[in-house]
């Protein structure tokens, strides 16, 4: 019997990567999935935190795809290495701070590093890319760039649009049958939906913008604010997690406050108490507020007035708060909640 060839499939959790992997299974290729955790993934996070999202059944779409396919899925944490992609994308950003082309190159390269290492011994890599599907990263011109710059070259196969691309090694060598691949192109999703139906996939995920928070305008604005305030384009994983949570209000360059909007967010913010200055409302029911940056005593009082505004004491003359700064004794003070007219719209990040 012919040696069964092995492909690593980049599985995002969306329909295209699910179909691409399935097309390979049809051709008797051994497929295993790889999925990357960048820190910006939409999966899970806010769903886990915010109550209103908890009504929807939660699932990790990449794992769900793997189950549908009956393949293994390896989830790799690339969040540290990925920083450089977000901070310095050689090919620039898309509509927001999404470095899609650099991101694709990086992920395919990581899949290569994982799949072609001696222990794993895979023969080629597949993605669910479709020419013309995304304006920046999935164009006819970017396809060879990804293959070349990832170092995967002609071992990178896109089963859904292979017929519109030059032959790759797996096709030339006869590991896969080019005639049984597809020639999808453009933004029309109908061919994918038809193929999904043919394979019997029904409940698949349909992400709106892209696979991560960087395609989200509000999120990108918060990240840009963070860089601007710090005077350098850098972030820690905690920073980018916190950008997904709560109201962010920046009264001054040197600090911002992060206010929980509901119980789930407050619980999550509690986990950061030891790292951040924070404010608790003592006299009324109110959210936990973190203070990020380098606030001085005045700033902390201002932060406390803002926090008080979002408590049930917002209309009271005074609200008692506890101001906690790591390494210092906690202080109890009475503050007057900041009135709406003193809280300009442009403080909201």
């Amino acid at each position: 019997m012919a040696h069964q060839r092995k492909a690593v499939a980049l599985i995002s959790g969306g329909l295209d990567s699910l179909l691409a992997a399935r097309v390979m299974l049809e051709q008797n290729i051994h497929v295993e999935g790889i999925n990357f955790y960048t820190g910006f993934c939409v999966e899970g996070h806010t769903h886990a935190i915010r109550k209103k999202h908890q009504l929807k059944p939660k699932r990790n779409n990449a794992l769900w795809s793997a189950e549908q396919l009956g393949i293994k899925l390896h989830i790799i944490d690339i969040s540290e290495e990925y920083k450089d992609i977000v901070i310095n994308p050689k090919h620039g950003y898309g509509q927001n701070l999404n470095p899609c082309l650099d991101c694709k190159i990086f992920m395919v390269n990581q899949a290569r590093a994982w799949g072609f290492m001696a222990d794993n011994d895979f023969d080629f890599i597949i993605t669910g890319e479709v020419i013309g599907q995304r304006p920046k990263s999935q164009r006819k011109e970017t396809m060879p760039v990804i293959a070349r710059e990832s170092g995967v070259n002609d071992r990178l196969l896109r089963p859904l649009c292979a017929k519109n691309l030059p032959e790759t090694l797996p096709e030339r060598e006869g590991w896969v049958d080019r005639d049984a691949l597809y020639g999808f192109h453009g933004r029309n999703r109908k061919p994918q939906m038809a193929l999904a139906e043919q394979f019997g996939f029904t409940d698949y995920a349909q992400p709106a913008g892209g696979c991560c928070f960087l395609t989200d305008a509000n999120y990108s604005k918060k990240l840009a604010d963070l860089w601007q305030a710090r005077g350098e384009r850098k972030y820690e994983i905690d920073d980018i997690m916190l950008l997904k949570i709560g109201r962010h209000i920046r009264p001054a360059q040197n600090y911002k406050v992060i206010i929980g909007r509901e119980e789930g967010e407050n619980n999550y913010l509690e986990g950061y108490r030891k790292q951040f200055a924070h404010i608790r409302i003592e006299s009324h029911f109110g959210p936990l507020t973190l203070v990020d940056g380098t606030p001085d005593q005045e700033d902390l009082l201002q932060a406390a007035r803002i926090a008080a505004r979002f408590s049930q004491g917002r209309d009271a003359g005074e609200v008692r708060v506890e101001i906690c700064v790591p390494g210092l004794d906690n202080r109890f003070v009475n503050v007057s909640p900041i009135p709406a007219q003193e809280l300009p719209k442009n403080w909201y990040v």
Binding site: N35, Y37, C41, E43, G44, H45, H47, A48, I49, Q54, K58, R59, N60, A62, L63, W64, A66, E67, I71, K72, L73, H74, I75, I76, D77, M241, N267, Y268, G271
Partner: protein, 83 residues
């Protein structure tokens, strides 16, 4: 629990404070170093693990023993089954 416990002391992994998929990734990385038959207890705070770790176990063929919620802590116990 089953007899595997006699041969392998239960291993534990604390992922509290981490959001999915990180608890799954930590579980996966930990299992790499465990032997077939070993029992791993993962404790987490993200309820997403109730869905994600069992799903991960299913795709890799590991055996989910049980899940348990104690206050805010969630325990997932599984037995490593390597090919």
């Amino acid at each position: 629990m089953s007899s595997e416990n006699k041969t392998f002391p239960k291993q534990t992994l604390d992922t509290r404070g981490l959001l999915c998929p990180l608890p799954v990734i930590r579980t996966q990385d930990r299992i790499k170093d465990l032997q077939n038959g070993a029992v791993l207890e993962v404790v987490a705070s993200d309820p997403g693990v109730l869905h994600d770790i069992p799903a991960w176990c299913r795709v890799h063929g590991h055996h989910l023993i049980e899940t348990e919620q104690v206050g805010l802590d969630i325990y997932v116990r599984l037995r490593v089954c390597k090919d």
